[in-house]
Amino acid sequence: MKSSETQTGKIRILYFARLRESLGKGEEELVLPEGVTTVGGLAEFLRQRGDVWASELGTGKAVRVAVNQDMAEPETAIGGGEEIAFFPPVTGG
């Protein structure tokens, strides 16, 4: 159970590979926006920045998300103090 303090706390967002390059940053910290409670909600908040944010995180794009270093889905819950990463489908090996 999360306290109200962590729920309103800061989150750390990471961007990798193509997303890091096109968005122009590898990471940022922000206070969890009001009303944002899921991965999908955070993506929608970021898309509202417009331009590359709207296109790179758009619904037609293949974007994967991890919460605290575990793969997540749009409906995965997020809260303050967590690490959320956005990246393209992986291509290692």
């Binding site: 990798f16 575990d70 990246f87 393209p88 489908p89 992986v90 291509t91 290692g92 090996g93």
Partner: protein, 149 residues
């Protein structure tokens, strides 16, 4: 079990010797080595740069190895994956599995590579005469991983 992410090259013989050292019950060692090709999607590849998500990479590789050990009767497993700038002929990844018999070792080794390719957070960028580009994920890799579920 061991997983390592590193910029340095690896010595396959030394890695295999270390993995099976002192275990006389090992009757089979299966290994896979992924290497950089000089041609992809019809273009010459000069360099391949590998990026990863420090922390999550190691966590996901350990999780994949743990799944392999649950599914098959293997004694030990090793995954070494390089990051940074690589060139054609360079080694990228090594997977080694030890078991009593070859069937389990082959299957676990193939499973590890199929899952690594679709789940571990690595990304490749290749430099070609037409410029640099991020390598796209392949549907055939997803299909290969699906076989095990």
């Amino acid at each position: 079990m061991t997983v390592r992410v590193q910029t340095e090259d690896f010595d396959v013989g030394a890695e295999i010797a270390r993995l099976r050292k002192g275990n006389p019950r090992v009757g089979a060692v299966a290994s896979f080595i992924g290497v950089v090709r000089d041609l992809n999607e019809g273009d010459e590849v000069a360099t391949l740069t590998l990026e990863h998500y420090p922390g999550m990479t190691e966590k996901s590789l350990k999780d994949i190895v743990a799944q392999a050990k649950q599914r098959w009767d293997v004694y030990d497993a090793l995954v070494v994956h390089r990051v940074g700038v690589l060139q054609p002929l360079d080694q990228i990844v090594l997977v080694v599995v030890t078991s009593a018999h070859r069937g389990e070792a082959f299957k676990a080794c193939e499973f590890l590579m199929d899952y690594l390719k679709t789940r571990a957070p690595f990304w490749k960028k290749e430099a070609t005469p037409q410029g640099s580009r991020w390598v796209e994920a392949r549907a055939s890799d997803d299909a290969a991983a699906e076989r095990w579920s």
